[in-house]
């Protein structure tokens, strides 16, 4: 496996920036924003390493969500009940909003009067839609499985 360190740093940095930006949007306190950033960086680092290792986007996203969920659990004593929310904030930059938009654009294009190459368009649209479903499912499953396995009474 070859890891492009610069690319990895780039993904971690912008994952951290995106997660802390969403942290402000979700009204996390100042103290928690650094944890949002750490959570986003961990998610994107894990996903990038897994993709570099040849994993599919969905499998890499699942591993990243599980890693962030585990990180939250390990820091539970320090973060208290915020650990779940922080894990979610870290995973938000992996939500496949771009693919969802492309899938909906594809559906619109398919309903046009005379679409160019409708078969190819249908396949591409289906590919985007399935990618949205599986990636979102991977995030939810990664977080939920960790949450339920490492469950504590006040979670």
């Amino acid at each position: 496996m070859i890891v492009d360190v610069l690319h990895l740093l780039h993904q971690a940095l912008f994952g951290a920036v995106a997660a802390s930006g969403f942290g402000v949007l979700f009204n996390f306190g100042w103290r928690d924003l650094r944890w949002c950033a750490a959570s986003g960086a961990l998610a994107l680092t894990t996903r990038t390493i897994a993709q570099d290792a040849g994993w599919s986007l969905e499998a890499a996203t699942f591993a990243a969500a599980a890693a962030v969920g585990c990180g939250g659990r390990l820091l539970r004593a320090r973060l208290g009940i915020a650990s779940n929310s922080l894990a979610v904030a870290g995973c938000v930059p992996m939500v496949p909003g771009f693919f969802a938009a492309q899938a909906i654009f594809g559906l619109f294009a398919l309903t046009a009067a005379h679409p160019d190459n409708p078969s190819k368009l249908a396949v591409t649209t289906m590919e985007f839609a399935l990618r949205v479903i599986f990636t979102a499912g991977a995030i939810g499953a990664g977080l939920s499985i960790v949450t339920h396995i490492l469950r504590s009474p006040d979670s």
């Binding site: 930006g21 942290g23 306190g29 929310s85 939500v95 909003g97 771009f98 938009a101 939810g140």
Partner: protein, 269 residues
């Protein structure tokens, strides 16, 4: 084996139990605020149960819908059922955190129902929020960072950040005016996408298409999408499905806004 005689009908007894009423309404208010601040259904159910039992209820049943929560609380011979509307679902971590702290205090027996009701009402009013300009700026930067993760080039970075920030500022104004959230999503997507597209093409970007989508990514309902899955997994499929449908609707309105902007600017999706 005991077989219940279904032909026996118990005569309902109307009991006036003001304290039970207050327990139900306080529990419902906390449940409602938790839902409005983005909590999962399971958290709402667990915390409402803790609150009602903490106040001395013997039995609690809660039903959480997308637009309302219902509760049945029993103590001794008295049983009451109450319902409360739930407002727009948002994400407010500090409010959610403060409410869960309040629930812990109730569990420890430190508060009466009336004190807890007053505190929960106060939390909704007094929970601090970031300044609107800071939220707008953070949303813009988050969009641009998100764009970089999607392959946005550097010339488009600032235009996307600016378009996202302006869009978020307009969104806050429209939310304060009570405009429908789906209409806001479409209008904001159209505005931000246009601004990002124009800015990115002026800046010489080769990723105008990505810029137009990246500028609206703060609208993507990530937390509701994850909550929808959690709710279904944790035994609340009705609420989870309702959340899922709202997520799909919101994505459709966002896509319509971006698509109209792409048509206007002549950019191929």
């Amino acid at each position: 084996m005991n077989i219940v005689d279904s032909t026996k009908v118990t005569v309902p007894v109307l009991l006036n139990d003001p304290e039970l009423e207050q327990i139900a309404m306080t529990t419902l208010l906390i449940g409602r605020l938790l839902m409005e601040s983005g909590a999962r259904a399971e958290v709402v159910h667990e915390d409402c149960s803790i609150v009602a039992h903490g106040f001395g209820a013997d039995h609690v049943d809660l039903r959480s819908g997308y637009a309302s929560v219902d509760i049945t609380v029993s103590r001794g011979a008295s049983t009451i059922t109450r319902t409360m509307e739930v407002g727009p679902h948002g994400v407010d971590h500090r409010l959610s955190h403060a409410l869960r702290d309040l629930v812990r205090r109730i569990q420890q027996g430190n508060l009466t129902p009336s004190e807890a009701l007053a505190k929960a009402t106060g939390l909704k009013r007094d929970t601090p929020h970031f300044a609107p300009w800071l939220v707008a700026l953070a949303a813009g930067i988050a969009c641009a960072a998100f764009g970089r993760l999607l392959g946005l080039d550097w010339p488009a970075f600032l235009p996307v950040a600016a378009a996202g920030a302006i869009g978020q500022a307009v969104r806050q104004v429209m939310l304060r005016r009570g405009v429908n959230v789906f209409v806001i999503a479409a209008c904001m997507a159209f505005l931000s996408s246009n601004l990002a597209g124009l800015g990115a093409s002026r800046a010489g970007s080769a990723t105008v298409n990505v810029a137009m989508v990246a500028s609206v990514l703060m609208l993507v309902p990530g937390v509701p999408a994850l909550n929808a899955q959690s709710d279904i997994m944790e035994g609340h499929p009705t609420l989870g499905t309702a959340r899922g449908v709202c997520v799909i609707m919101l994505l459709t309105f966002i896509a319509i806004g971006v698509l109209l902007a792409q048509v206007l600017l002549g950019v191929q999706p």
